[in-house]
């Protein structure tokens, strides 16, 4: 089955540093593909190029067979690609529901409508409440984003990405800065996503990675040093040397 997302010899340099060095990666449908690597390995740069906020210097990105390499970020969402941010980026001053309505509005017809109040469009609110439920925020719909806990705001972060029913979801360290119990809830949430979408997961929490990932790709200094099933990666000598060390033994 053709991969939902595939890159071929992707390259990106910042002055002297090669942040993405000839990366070829593919993600199959309904797969949770984890991308791991030490800090500064170029994970965020890769996500940036996939999402469209960074322009690659070379190579191509295909999403469902369509070349999106140089497509602007906002157009990629229409082709089923969505992303969440490593540093939470939501709409302060608005409620959780309003945040989600905005996200839903992006892919529910044109927003160049000037007369009818958005609050009168029930379909937007229904879909928003559906997403709120998906990310366990139903109880917090009318709370201002400013008053959410860190964990809840990370859940909203994922919710905003889910609103456009993406075929491929790029999750950039969803568990970052989370306590034990919040991580468990997020892990359970990602597991539930498997049925509806494909996930490319960037994460440091090794326990979660090995629990969730169908396949793992390891990135060091911008280069892919290994890619395969979790057990293969656990035993791979080169990976252990470069990165896992004690954790994997």
């Amino acid at each position: 089955m053709s991969p939902v997302l595939a890159t071929t010899s992707l390259r990106k340099r910042f002055g002297g540093i090669t942040a993405t060095d000839d990366v070829s990666l593919d993600v199959a449908a309904h797969e949770v593909h984890a991308l791991i690597g030490p800090n500064g390995a170029g994970k965020s740069t890769l996500i940036g190029q996939l999402a469209g906020t960074l322009r690659p210097d070379g190579g191509t990105i295909l999403c469902n067979g369509l070349d999106v390499t140089h497509m602007p970020a906002h157009k990629r969402v229409a082709h089923g690609l969505a992303r969440s941010y490593q540093i939470t980026s939501t709409f302060r001053g608005l409620t959780v529901l309003d945040n989600l309505v905005l996200a839903v509005q992006a892919t529910a017809g044109s927003s160049f409508r000037f007369w009818r109040p958005a609050s009168a469009e029930a379909s937007l609110y229904d879909r928003a409440r559906e997403v709120a439920a998906l990310v366990d925020l139903s109880a917090r719909e009318d709370v201002l984003v400013d008053h959410l806990s860190h964990g809840e705001e990370r859940q909203l972060e994922v919710g905003l990405a889910l609103a456009s029913r993406p075929r491929v979801l790029l999750l950039d360290e969803p568990m970052a800065g989370m306590g034990k119990e919040e991580s468990a809830r997020m892990l359970h949430l990602i597991e539930r996503l498997r049925s509806s979408t494909t996930v490319l997961l960037v994460e440091h929490d090794m326990a979660a990675v090995f629990r969730l990932a169908d396949r793992i790709t390891v990135l060091v200094y911008g280069r892919v040093i290994a890619s395969g099933k979790p057990d293969e990666i656990r035993r791979d000598r080169e990976v252990r040397e470069a990165y896992l060390g004690a954790a994997a033994s």
Partner: protein
């Protein structure tokens, strides 16, 4: 729907304005009808800048040139109509010249924004200033339309057979009606899907792009709508004074509009009316009593900035939810 403070304030303001002409003519002070008409014209311009700045988050110094361009459009069309040989189709009816002024304001706004939107924050302010001055010099050197001496209009645009705009009271009520319509449209706009997207862009533009919005096009359309509003205000002003001069497009005029917007309360529905009324009434009252009135105005502006940071509008209306 429970009427929020905004609506109560609105109703009181409109009722007061409706009663103004009868009170003024009773006390033989018809002069203040003219003052109120000018405040309403400026209120429309300030409300459209409020849309661009308050909801679109764009700090623009080009509104003066758009207002002036609208005024010139109406004046030129009216003057051309009276000339026998002319290459431009002239018209004296308000139903043609006023929408034409709005169209010119919108198109110029579109042109200016299409280039200026490549920049951010303070650079956007400066590039809109650049375009403002280009338009200023354009009208300044157009000898055929009076150049710096300005252009006069023989008579006010004709609206309806029965409704002669020459009568100041009639003209006042037309201006009031236009202001009320404009404010209602602005209210609908702000709460429409388009308005919601603008608000999202103002709070967190990168995220809106990640959600799939082409933010550039939304800000462009917002700036054009602001331009149309300014064009309408220009048409009203030229009709009130039967005269327009390049001075109306100068950057100091754009600066004054910006000051009125901030004074009235950025993002407040009634900010336009409050800002325009406060500035022009202070100017009118103080200048009658002392030659040093600009010091009074300066002190008043500083006081508002320090003690009513979100502008006069915010004093009546609680912080938005």
């Amino acid at each position: 729907m429970k009427l929020g403070a905004t609506w109560w304030f609105g109703i009181v303001a409109v009722v007061l304005l409706v009663l103004l002409p009868p009170i003024a003519s009773f006390t033989q002070q018809e002069f203040y009808i003219g003052v109120a008409t000018r405040v309403l014209a400026y209120a429309i311009a300030v409300s459209s800048l409020n849309l661009v700045l308050g909801h679109g988050g764009m700090l623009s110094l080009a509104q003066g040139s758009l207002l002036g361009a609208g005024a010139y459009t109406t004046a030129i069309l009216t003057v051309e109509a009276t000339k026998d040989v002319t290459f431009l189709p002239g018209a004296t009816s308000a139903w043609i010249t006023w929408p034409a002024a709005m169209l010119v304001g919108a198109l110029l706004g579109l042109a200016i924004a299409s280039i200026s939107l490549r920049t951010r924050a303070i650079f956007f302010l400066m590039i809109t200033l650049a375009f403002n001055q280009m338009l200023y010099y354009l009208f300044f050197s157009m000898k055929v339309y009076g150049g710096d001496d300005g252009l006069g209009m023989a008579a006010r645009s004709d609206l309806l057979p029965g409704l002669a705009l020459e009568n100041d009271t009639v003209f006042f009520y037309v201006a009031l009606a236009l202001f009320a319509i404009f404010t209602f449209v602005q209210h609908r706009l702000v709460h429409s899907r388009f308005g919601r997207v603008l608000e999202g862009i103002r709070i967190n533009e990168p995220r809106m792009q990640a959600l799939g919005f082409d933010t550039y096009r939304y800000k462009l359309v917002c700036f054009a709508i602001g331009g149309a509003g300014s064009g309408l205000a220009g048409a009203l002003l030229v009709n009130k004074n039967l005269f327009v001069s390049p001075g109306l497009l100068d950057w100091l005029q754009s600066g004054t509009l910006l000051v009125m917007t901030i004074l009235g309360g950025v993002g407040q529905l009634w900010g336009g009316l409050l800002g325009a009324a406060a500035y022009l009434v202070i100017e009118e009252l103080l200048s009658a009593y002392t030659q040093r009135w600009q010091i009074g105005l300066g002190v008043a502006l500083i006081a508002v900035t320090l003690y009513a940071p979100r502008g006069l509008g915010a004093l009546f209306v609680p912080r938005r939810p």
